[in-house]
Subunit: 407 residues, 2 copies
């Protein structure tokens, strides 16, 4: 049986196949980069037109009340909550992942006086590590990095916060959230999980793991649009004694009392800072609702099947690429990464054929499997393109063109 | 001559009258709240549809390069720059006003070691004052408030930063930017101007005044949409030795090198933190381009004429309201505020008639004159509505309804 024949059987049996119609995808493209920017939900343009033309254009300032703009940050947060094992009222949609990291790193430092160390791993997503730098320069934090196999022993009584990305952006390797959270708590530290590469692709159970804080991205698997607002989670048990430093008016207990003195809102809204980005939130809400409707358990099952099928197709076609991701789908997120000396050129040659993955410095070809809109047929076709690119020397031409352009 | 007749003459002679057609305004509404949320430019829905459907939907991840999303923050900043007396490369569009305040307050503290005081005035816009609170709780800052007439003497060698809003949100009173900047510098302090109620309504000359930092709002006179990205300005002379604490990957010198260590971008882009909010920036750019095309000098001249005409109409109609704004238009921004014990009820009664101003606690009725789309006829009509509301007792019914709803 050819890969294409098997793919057709899988697609016919796929309970999620009809959801592809809920997205707009360009002709001739196999989109394996939904882990970087999710595809456009078909409902989004209509919602955006309504928000812009009616809510803003006609409603003007009145829409903060009549179109419920004030509630959007908390309302969308509560729709994200069940995707990540949180309760309504523990999640809010706001700012960027980076800004939310800053709030929660600083909040953790305030909750662990006498401890200054933020523990993470080398090679974590850059902005996670960078957001420690500003607090380090202010004398408030001290960064410590330990490889994932040495994290447990690096947890000592100087550590205020263990901060990790649940699914690694480059390899897709998944941390054991429950075990690491337990280890951190045993050392007296708090835990912050970056769910950017998890949310909407696989089930997460923050409250089951006893996590303290989390952040995540709105523009990847949640399909909220380029640069969509991010989200932040704080376990309800911490709400009453949280102190995050971005104390803006939207996080105030009574913003329209216009008092000179800051008093935090009692719930998760204390994480808000400036005025909510209404247009970005409107697009995010469409994506969140759609992903919630499909359901993360079904999405993860399909994502695992997709990546396993792609590997099988590559094997069938005799492709020999070094896998940089965990070999079993239970141990990884919704992506496969391959290590190859000419990864950049291979990625460019694939893009020229309409197979859009991405390259991550220095030698990683990264393919993401957003299960809401990909078909098994896409896997078979992608595998054949990869085989042809590697077999034909196309990647060498792509590399030559790149070097010619640079020099 | 009736107010209406005079208004018709003014409108006929108004060189900006044709620009009203560049905005969408609802039927039956006199919109005097453009200082809170600017009206919708007529071009915005089409631009948003293109960005959502083509750039995101068709271009997907490729649009970061092909649609120039990466450059949007700096490009829009450089379009804002001439509106505020800054050079291209000194302004960037990003985050919220509140978040940008935090970056620049913290940057000022880092540039003035040994000084911890942030000096502002009581009654400044709340988020400006609130953004000091987080840094105070971290032990990094100390807030000092002095009434505007006592600011000069409050500037001592403990002050790291003088932080003021150029045009007061409640009264419209305008600070003397050049004189206060000079006074702060003589005391060894830096200066941060919040231009939220200035930008796009009147000329500002940051570089002429020798200012150090500024922030401003995208959703008021710039017509960037609800919760639009804000902007931040840093004088070029400070770029090489700036240290702001929100050290995210979009502010990195080489974000896609994915290094573990933070190194700031050399120019104004070092103020970026997370991934740029593409949808919000797209709407903001439309508004900025339109306001820049009209020109702030012409806008301010018309704004002054509008507010003076409204005051004249009210006088003609025998309306007696206490002015909370400076009496001469040179001393105020693009708004008039009136103090009245029943301001809330009066505001509600006016809104019921389609005259949308706003109420600011405890007793201020605030009317804003966004000069890009208001007519002198709107002033005459607004004055007549105000006279009728005050004369008829309508505001008493509005107050009764409000109390009935609350109790």
């Amino acid at each position: 049986m050819t890969p294409e024949t098997r793919a057709a059987e899988f697609d016919a049996a796929d309970p999620l196949s009809s959801f592809r119609e809920c997205f707009t995808l360009p002709e001739g493209v196999i989109y394996l980069d939904g882990n970087s920017l999710g595809a456009l939900p078909r409902a989004t343009p209509g919602v955006m037109a309504r928000v812009v033309e009616q809510e803003w254009g006609e409603g003007l300032i009145r829409s903060w009340n009549s179109a419920h703009w004030f509630e959007a940050a908390g309302r969308i947060g509560s729709k994200i909550a069940p995707l990540i094992g949180a309760a309504a009222g523990e999640v809010v949609a706001c700012d960027s992942t980076s800004v939310n990291l800053f709030k929660l790193i600083a909040a953790a430092l305030a909750m662990r006086p006498g401890r200054k160390v933020i523990l993470s791993e080398p090679g974590n997503f850059p902005t996670d590590l960078y957001m420690i730098a500003g607090l380090e320069a202010q004398g408030l934090a001290e960064r410590r990095l330990a490889p994932r196999e040495a994290l447990a022993e690096a947890l000592d009584d100087e550590v205020a916060l263990l901060m990790l990305t649940h699914v690694h952006y480059k390899t897709g390797a998944m941390h054991d959230m429950a075990a690491l959270t337990r280890a951190a708590h045993e050392a007296g530290a708090l835990v912050l999980w970056d769910l950017s590469h998890s949310t909407g692709a696989l089930p997460v159970d923050l409250n089951g793991a006893g996590a303290d804080f989390a952040v995540g991205c709105g523009y990847k698997y949640l399909c909220g649009g380029p640069g969509a607002p991010a989200f932040a989670y704080v376990a309800a048990r911490h709400h009453a004694h949280l102190a995050q430093p971005l104390t803006g008016w939207f996080g105030h207990a009574a913003p329209f009392a216009f008092s000179d003195d800051y008093a935090p809102a009692p719930g998760i809204e204390q994480l808000l800072c400036g005025t909510s980005p209404v247009l970005g939130l409107a697009a995010l809400e469409v994506g969140v609702e759609l992903i919630a409707e499909i359901g993360v358990a079904r999405l993860y099952a399909k994502s695992q099947a997709l990546s396993e099928f792609l590997l099988a197709c590559l094997a069938d076609l005799g492709v020999n690429l070094e896998l940089a991701s965990p070999a079993t789908s239970d141990a990884r997120g919704s992506q496969l990464s391959f290590r190859a000396p000419h990864a950049y050129a291979i990625c460019q040659a694939l893009i020229a054929r309409g197979v859009i993955g991405d390259f991550r410095d220095p030698d990683v070809l990264r393919l993401g499997f957003a299960p809401a809109y990909l078909r098994f047929a896409d896997m078979a076709a992608a595998a054949r393109h990869i085989a042809e690119v590697l077999g034909s020397g196309e990647w060498q031409r792509a590399e030559f063109n790149q070097r010619a352009a640079v020099t």
